[in-house]
Structure formats: C-alpha cells, structure tokens
C-alpha cells in the first residue's frame, strides 16, 4: 500500500479527477473532503461493504413464484386486526 504523509488542508490526487483533502485532524479522527466525478460513489467502507453484501444476498438464487410472495403478505394481514 502506498502511504503518504499529509497535513491539514493538503490533498492527494487519485488519477486526474479525484482529490482527497485532509480537512481536520482531532485525536484519532481524521476528517476528509472528497472531490470526485459524479459516477464515482464515495462512501464509508463499512457501509459500502454491508450494502454490497445485502445486494448479493438479495439476488434471486432460484426460481420464484411471485404469487406465493403476495400470498405470504396477504396471509400476514389478518393478524393486524387483532393487534390493533
């Protein structure tokens, strides 16, 4: 991994159009500013990983009968009356 030392207000470039600025450093927290083209998504790594993983789980693994899904929801409904 490339490791660079930067001070507050200094930045690094990734390619021609992604710029990362060190905005603030306090204790063990670093505040970063990111300038990137629109099509580049910028997110905290943990959030990004969690959504990727959930998307992978969501991909249909086998044939599905959509009528059966609706039936599950319909059958769950009558419970509601007794709840309320």
């Amino acid at each position: 991994m490339l490791v660079l030392t930067r001070k507050v207000d200094q930045s690094i470039m990734i390619g021609d159009n992604i710029r990362i600025v060190v905005v603030d450093v306090r204790g063990d927290q670093v505040k970063l500013g990111i300038e990137a083209p629109r099509h580049i998504m910028v997110h905290r790594h943990e959030v990004y990983e969690e959504i990727q993983a959930e998307n992978r789980r969501a991909v249909l693994k086998k044939e599905i009968d959509v009528g059966a899904l609706d039936k599950v929801l319909r059958e769950a409904r009558p419970k509601l009356k007794s709840d309320a």
Binding site: R38, H39, M41, Y48, E54, L60, I64, R77, L80
Partner: protein
C-alpha cells in the same frame, strides 16, 4: 429480445432498458436493467438485461414506511437527470430467505429510477434511520397501525364521529 429469468421468460424491448451508470453495488459491471412490474402484485423485478441470472425483487418502500422519502444530492439529481420530484420513482430491494415470511427489505440503499430518461441508480441514505434488513411483514403491520392511528387522530381533529 427474450430473457429466461428466475421469474419466467420475459420479452425486453430496447426502449424499456434503464441505464444504471454506476451499476448496483456489488455488481458494478452491469449497467442495463429492466423493471418488470405486475398489476396483480406488490412485487416488481429489477432484471439485468445482460445477465439473466441477475434479478432483484423490489417493492415500493411506502408499503412498509408511509413516510419514506429520499433526498437526492445535486450530483444524484444530475446523474439521474431529474427535473421534477415526480420524475424519480423509488424502489427498495427485498431479500427473500428460505423462509419467505422472513423476507427483509433494504431501506438504506433504495433504487431510484427516472423512467422518462431511463436512468437508474442505487443510492445510500446516510444516518441511522434506515438499515439494510427491515422485516417486511413486521414493518407492514407497524405501518398499517400508524396509518390507522393517523387517520383516527385526523378524524377526531375534524370532529367526525367514529361510528358513521
């Protein structure tokens, strides 16, 4: 073009294809999808045009959260070429486990589609209001209960007797 998908064979017309410039998270290489809606179901499908095996089940998030709203950043508005709020249709991806009744919906990363421009993107909502695994049935119950409470409150505010 015909696609043999997990939910049956579908015919895809060129003009139905929605372009996802950034793809779906975890599937960055796939950019072309179709939205398959059915009149008789609350479930729709987001189907990759280039990979028949890549299908997602989606619902309208209002089904589980009546107040669900997505705030788009300027970049996202530009990416999706949205000119009016009604241009953007919002969907949430459903994960269906072995026990179908335990299905969950990802409200943290909705899919927004501009049908007019045929552009789509998966967004990430920051903050801790929504997460990736809301139980669909539990949320539906809660949602219906809240709506009922709301309409009762509204009725009593309007002075409408309850037993009319």
């Amino acid at each position: 073009m015909e696609l043999k998908t997990k939910f049956g064979t579908i015919a895809v017309q060129e003009e139905q294809i929605i372009h996802f410039p950034r793809g779906i998270l975890g599937f960055a290489d796939y950019h072309r999808y179709v939205l398959v809606e059915r009149e008789d179901s609350v479930f729709s499908f987001l189907q990759s045009v280039d990979e028949p095996g890549l299908s997602f089940v989606v619902i309208m998030p209002e089904l589980v959260r009546a107040d669900y709203a997505v705030e788009l950043s300027e970049e996202e508005i530009e990416l999706l070429q949205i000119s009016a709020p009604e241009d953007g249709k919002v969907f949430a991806i459903v994960t269906i486990p072995e026990d179908v009744a335990e299905m969950t919906v990802n409200l943290q990363a909705p899919v927004v589609i501009n049908a007019k421009e045929r552009l789509g993107a998966q967004l990430i909502i920051t903050g801790d209001k929504y997460h990736t695994k809301h139980n669909v049935i539990a949320e539906m119950h809660k949602n219906a209960y809240l709506l009922q409470q709301q309409s009762r409150a509204q009725q009593s505010a309007e002075g409408v007797p309850e037993s009319v």
